[in-house]
């Protein structure tokens, strides 16, 4: 029975009830059956587990917070970044470019125009256009291939004989020899032998 219990002994309890209470207080519980050494070992083990489990409690939240902060930083940096300036403004250099001024001038190569070829020589026309760098630019659309240059090439010579006839200068065609068969026929019928 504790001292506090004795001090706060109910004054309002009847005498008979206090007698029962004192008789109960004379009884005491049996000693504990708990294995003291085993209990100390288990409590120490539990305390160690709790101590090692404590860092894991903040490890994942801290990792998530760090990753979220990195993500926000990258997004803000991407939004605040100015638009990239082009490395080359134009394909043609300016006239006052010092690099261009220092370079020696190259004489311009004159390429004969297509008008110098006959209209039937489509391959020559195409070669002429290739020499004049008309096909170097990539601005050729599919329409050009569909109806322009490709059509000209498609309407060109289909065989090597036609190609030779187109490329080689035209020779005067041989005149057909007219044979007068009448004298030969009359001599045959008369029985003359040559």
């Amino acid at each position: 029975m504790s001292a506090e219990y004795k001090m706060s002994a109910e004054a309002d309890l009847p005498k008979k009830l206090r007698e029962i209470e004192s008789r109960l207080g004379q009884l005491s519980p049996l000693p504990s059956e708990v294995n003291r050494d085993m209990l100390m070992y288990q409590t120490g083990w539990a305390a160690a587990e709790a101590q090692f489990a404590r860092p894991r409690a903040w490890l994942w939240p801290a990792t998530s917070a760090a990753l979220a902060a990195c993500l926000l930083l990258m997004l803000s940096a991407a939004n605040l970044r100015p638009s990239p300036t082009p490395l080359v403004d134009s394909d043609t250099p300016r006239a006052d470019d010092p690099l261009m001024v220092s370079l020696p001038r190259v004489p311009r190569i004159t390429v004969p125009t297509a008008k110098q070829y006959p209209p039937t020589a489509t391959l020559l026309v195409m070669r002429d256009r290739a020499l004049r760098s008309e096909f170097d630019s990539l601005s050729l659309s599919t329409a050009d291939f569909a109806g322009g240059v490709v059509d000209e090439a498609r309407n060109g010579p289909a065989t090597s004989r036609e190609l030779l006839r187109e490329l080689l200068p035209a020779r005067p065609s041989a005149t057909r020899t007219q044979i007068d068969w009448q004298p030969w026929w009359s001599r045959f019928r008369s029985g003359e032998s040559s």
């Binding site: 029962i20 109960l24 004379q26 009884l27 504990s32 708990v34 100390m40 409590t43 539990a46």
Partner: protein, 167 residues
């Protein structure tokens, strides 16, 4: 405040409350030592996690032991656990219980669980009325009234005359 890092603190708690805690748990379960052991392990974990022991470690232990004992009783579905109350109480100055003591223990076992719990807590745990009220989810005045009515029932059973022999 008891330092949670010192194992002597837990040993002192075990020495001062171990027997009463087992008696308290024996009202519901037939393995009260396991409940007390689990409660002390949980107390050690609590102290390590929070850095300090609970403000009232004895009341905390009684509450945890009660929860463990109730869970154990639900699992075991045993109804004969209350018989261990008598087996766990003995008279201090006598090795063999007298007839009067046996009658008192039988009367204690026959009490309803709510009344017996308050009697055990008040007589053998040393908890205050406020702690007993918190533990039994009642007010301190209600716990005192329950205690008084339990003592009245014990007195009535002790003073009940024996039935006359009909043979």
């Amino acid at each position: 405040m008891i330092s949670p890092s010192s194992p002597t603190a837990l040993a002192e708690l075990l020495d001062s409350h171990g027997a009463a805690l087992e008696l308290y748990a024996a009202q519901w379960t037939n393995a009260p030592a396991d409940c007390v052991q689990e409660a002390f392990v949980q107390l050690s974990t609590y102290a390590q996690q929070h850095g300090v022991l609970p403000t009232y470690p004895s009341a905390w232990l009684y509450r945890v032991v009660r929860n463990y004992a109730l869970n154990s009783a639900r699992a075991q579905r045993r109804r004969d656990h209350h018989e261990q109350i008598a087996a766990r109480l003995c008279k201090r100055d006598a090795n063999t219980p007298t007839d009067e003591t046996e009658q008192l223990l039988e009367s204690l076992e026959a009490l309803p669980i709510a009344m017996r719990e308050v009697v055990v807590l008040r007589i053998w745990s040393g908890l205050t009325w406020k702690e007993i009220g918190d533990l039994t989810a009642t007010s301190s005045s209600s716990a005192q009234r329950t205690y008084a009515s339990a003592l009245e029932q014990l007195r009535d059973k002790m003073e009940q005359p024996c039935l006359p022999n009909t043979k």
